[in-house]
């Protein structure tokens, strides 16, 4: 089989899928398999590493190398693999509990080191596998088994957290938008460095409809802002609204009242604009949520990586040391 001739099916393993029927994970799985085939990756050079949670079952369903590890630690395991194997295409599949709660430390340090891996955060704003407790991304006041009187805690602003940790690629998509997801997955894979892709994923058992504002086609128009490089930031029922920068403050305006050059044109490589998008637009209720590649920069390259083997002479000199003596 020649590289590039594989189909999405070739990336599917022989294991039965065990997610709840109707789970958003199915759609993501299909798009990942499609993208790998489309980009001409080989099965044996691709590795999926996950932690614990519903999403972390993902590697079992991929006909690639994979590890379903322990809770929160996929990023740390992937770091060791990345540093010793430059040749592999490494993906981390994680959830909001796995990487934002128990594995939060590894997530931020992975992003700080900017190792070349693709991290897919399946965010469903709930603990699914443990049957419905609130997560660090759950909305305030959400009633769950562990918050019967409503969630008292503020949710993480996921993109801001990653931006703060120094992520070099920050993107978001949603399970229901197959085409968008596919396109963003391709960009995620192509970026050199740690690529962070948050995927809003509906858990229809424990947190159904939490992303309805962005998945329902009519609501989506008002609540979601799909970013594209070189295009203005436009949304609204009839795409009549736009975002404009007023100094350093983002402002919602009527698109037609301004000429194109007066509107905010998306440039994912602009760090200042990314900061405003992430910290001021994405986190404020009067603005739509961001989708697409929000921020992308060239690899930080903070850690050089040159695995090789010890030479015998080097080792012999080292064993002997600089102050040895001979006993006859």
């Amino acid at each position: 089989m020649q590289i590039g001739e594989l189909t999405a099916k070739d990336f599917a393993s022989d294991q039965d899928l065990r997610w709840c029927p109707g789970c958003g994970d199915f759609a993501i799985l299909k798009q990942v398999q499609t993208v790998l085939a489309k980009l001409g990756h080989s099965q044996e050079d691709t590795v999926f590493i996950s932690g614990i949670g519903c999403s972390s079952r993902f590697p079992y369903y991929m006909n690639t190398y994979g590890m379903h590890s322990i809770h929160g630690r996929a990023a740390a395991i992937a770091s060791g693999l990345r540093l010793t194997r430059e040749d592999l295409n490494i993906w981390i599949v994680t959830g909001d509990g796995d990487s934002m709660s128990i594995g939060g430390n590894h997530l931020i340090h992975l992003l700080r080191r900017d190792l070349n891996v693709n991290l897919l955060l399946f965010n469903n704003e709930i603990y699914g596998l443990t049957k419905g407790q609130y997560s660090p991304t759950s909305k305030k006041d959400l009633i769950t088994k562990s918050s019967p009187y409503g969630n008292q805690e503020r949710a993480f602003d996921t993109l801001a957290l990653c931006f703060g940790a120094g992520a070099s690629f920050i993107a978001r998509s949603i399970d229901r938008e197959a085409k968008h997801l596919q396109e963003i997955l391709i960009q995620t894979n192509e970026h050199e460095g740690s690529s962070f892709l948050e995927i809003y994923q509906n858990c229809h058992i424990f947190n159904d409809g939490t992303f309805q504002n962005y998945s329902d086609r009519s609501l989506q128009k008002i609540n979601a802002l799909f970013l594209e490089d070189g295009k203005p930031l436009v949304f609204g029922e009839h795409q009549e609204l736009a975002i404009k920068l007023d100094g350093l403050n983002p402002k919602v305006v009527l698109k037609d009242e301004y000429s194109l050059e007066d509107l905010w044109i998306h440039d994912s490589s602009d760090r200042v604009k990314a900061s405003i998008l992430i910290n001021e637009v994405d986190t404020q209720e009067n603005f739509p949520k961001l989708f697409g590649v929000v921020y992308k920069k060239e690899k930080l390259n903070t850690r050089s990586n040159s695995p090789n083997k010890l030479s015998e002479n080097y080792l012999l000199d080292l064993l002997k040391g600089s102050n040895s003596w001979l006993v006859k």
Binding site: S13, D45, S69, T84
Partner: protein
């Protein structure tokens, strides 16, 4: 005047933690090594980098015992005590032998120092009559050092810091040495600072010539070179030997080495050593925490490198879950635990052997993992080499136990010839299995070991994880029978390693008799010297020190059965003895425990043996 010839001398350098006593000790040790004496050292210092100056808490000590015959311990008591201040004197005088030599720096006994050491500031502590049991030399080391440097443009503080070189020079003179090794060291260390180089060399020589001028010739002693087995020797500390052992194992197995660690006392020096060799093929990784360190090592092993991680007790507790993951994945993983006094943060710079049962049982579920313990600084090399060999050849995590005393202690080490080390052969897929259409990741060889198939291998894609595996196929399985079988296999796989281990040897004494002293880890020297002394008195006693604790070597049963009573000294509340009692229920074991953060004294072991002999 010809110096008196002695078999051995034990010296303790004691001062404030800022006085440079560790440097004095290690330089004296290097010089001793080159001179050809056998030796054992014991650095003992506070956890704080700059502990409260002048107080007992701030005392930093370095003990060295060197001789013309086999030296096994730093010595229960010392022949010479150098006390740089009142606190050091208070801390260490009790262990100076009667008629021993006491050298003090007068400057360290002013009113302030007396007060800080909780003496009466008004009393004349250094009055001769108080020390009539000892040979007593008072020197104003600080002033003499400063005087020697009066022409050199350094501030008084910097001048004062060179006083440890005076001590070093004086002691080297006393034992008939030359200054070459220390001069070389100073030249290199202060290459970029000619002023400090000149100052240190000057004070070193001032100390060296002081003995002559002050007519201290009567204290000169000669300790002839020891008769060691022929070969090339070097002075080595346990942590260094550990690092070199891991590197050598990776080399012999033809693997990349990946060492991931989070800084922790007393294991950090292994990370420091390995980090030095980044350009020569060693990858070291300072992880964000203990868990990340072990997990990164597992990731590296998954990719086909030798994944290793090192820590101390608190870190072991954090790594427990991930070590179990490696056990389920059946991947090689080296876990180094340089033990320290616990529980919790405990006493970070003090030694203990209290993680053994944690290494054995400190994980959820049925979790059999091989355990190998080093028993001397130099032995760290071979013991960790074996730990790597077992991890690689048996596809399992292995716990290597060292401890603070071994880690920082040093001894002459005969440099190993690579040819003399056993081969290490990773378990790769056989040619036959490579041909097979369906790949079965948990298919096992005769040793119950699965093959190490790494990402990148065509047509062998597979998924592994922490969930229970189905026999052979490695698919996830919740079947009750399968779980029973897999649990049994994991235990059997580790038990079978016993067949591959070197035989347990007797270190001293006959192969049978009344009392066998069995030890592990840093108790070697104290036990061996106690047993050797009793053998001279014709007592029926022998000594075995075990490297392989899980599983035990196959011949251990025969050795135990050849003795009436078995004494098990440990720096814990009785851990190895529990394992021995379970494995060998018919033998009579007697515990000797000490849990004070310091090693056993020879006398303590000797008394316990005599007690058993009746």
């Amino acid at each position: 005047m010809i110096a008196e010839v002695k078999d051995s001398i034990s010296i303790k350098f004691a001062g404030d933690s800022g006085d440079g006593m560790q440097l004095t000790g290690t330089q004296f040790t290097d010089n001793t090594a080159l001179y050809g004496n056998d030796f054992a050292t014991f650095p003992n210092y506070p956890a704080e980098i700059r502990a409260p100056q002048g107080t007992i808490h701030g005392v930093s000590g370095f003990q060295i015992h060197f001789g013309s015959f086999e030296i096994n311990t730093p010595g229960d008591e010392f022949d010479v005590l150098v006390a740089m201040n009142a606190a050091a004197l208070k801390d260490s005088l009790k262990s100076l032998k009667k008629t021993g030599l006491l050298i003090v720096d007068i400057a360290g006994f002013d009113k302030k120092n007396l007060r800080l050491a909780a003496f009466d500031p008004e009393e004349d502590l250094l009055e001769e009559s108080r020390f009539s049991d000892y040979h007593f030399i008072k020197i104003d080391i600080s002033s003499l050092s400063k005087e020697a440097l009066k022409e050199i443009d350094l501030d008084p503080k910097q001048k004062d810091r060179s006083k440890n070189m005076f001590v070093l020079g004086l002691l080297l003179w006393m034992y008939g040495r030359n200054l070459q090794s220390v001069e070389d060291f100073i030249e290199t260390k202060f290459r970029k600072n000619p002023l400090l180089k000149e100052a240190n060399l000057k004070v070193l020589r001032t100390g060296f010539y002081y003995g002559e001028t002050a007519e201290l010739q009567s204290y000169k002693k000669e300790i002839k070179a020891a008769k060691l087995e022929p070969g090339t020797y070097r002075n080595i500390m346990g942590n260094k030997a550990t690092a070199l052992g891991v590197m050598t194992a990776a080399f012999k197995a033809n693997l990349n080495l990946f060492y991931a660690s989070y800084p922790i006392t007393p294991a950090s020096d292994i990370l420091h050593e390995l980090a030095k060799h980044a350009k020569a093929g060693v990858q070291s990784f300072q992880a964000e925490d203990e868990i990340a360190a072990v997990c990164a090592a597992i990731g590296a092993s998954f990719g086909g490198a030798l994944g290793a991680t090192g820590t101390s007790g608190p870190g072991m507790a954090l790594k427990s879950e991930a070590i179990n993951l490696a056990l389920m994945l059946e991947l090689p993983l080296l876990v180094i635990d340089v033990q320290r006094a616990g529980p919790s943060t405990g006493m970070p710079t003090k030694t203990e052997q209290s993680d053994l049962l944690f290494a054995m049982y400190g994980r959820n579920g049925e979790s059999p993992i091989p355990i190998i313990a080093a028993h001397s600084p130099g032995n760290c090399f071979e013991a960790v080499y074996w730990a790597c060999k077992i991890a690689i050849e048996h596809m399992t995590p292995v716990i290597f136990l060292s401890d603070g005393y071994l880690a920082n202690g040093s001894e002459p080490w005969k440099v190993k010839d690579l040819k003399d080390l056993p081969e290490i052969q990773p378990v790769y897929l056989s040619a036959e299995d490579t041909q097979e259409e369906a790949f079965l990741p948990y298919k096992r060889n005769a040793d119950l070991v699965r093959s190490w198939v790494q990402p990148g291998t065509k047509n062998k894609q597979h998924r592994i994880g922490g969930l229970e595996k189905e026999l052979v196929s490695g698919n996830v399985s919740y079947s009750p029978e399968n779980h029973q079988k897999m649990t049994d296999i994991r235990a059997e796989k580790v038990a079978l390693i016993a067949k591959k281990l070197p035989e347990q040897t007797i270190m001293a004494g006959a192969k049978s008799g009344k009392v066998l002293v069995i030890g592990w880890g840093n108790t070697t020297g104290a036990i061996k010297s106690a047993v050797l002394e009793l053998l001279k008195e014709a007592k029926e006693v022998a000594h075995a020190q075990i490297n392989f604790i899980h599983p035990f070597p196959e011949n251990l049963a025969n050795i135990l059965n050849s003795f009436d009573k078995i004494l098990v000294p440990e720096l814990n509340n009785g851990q190895l003895i529990k394992l021995l009692k379970v494995a060998f229920p018919n033998n009579k074991f007697y515990a000797l425990n000490k849990i004070q953060g310091i090693p056993f004294k020879k006398s303590e072991i000797k008394d316990a043996i005599l007690n058993l002999l009746g």
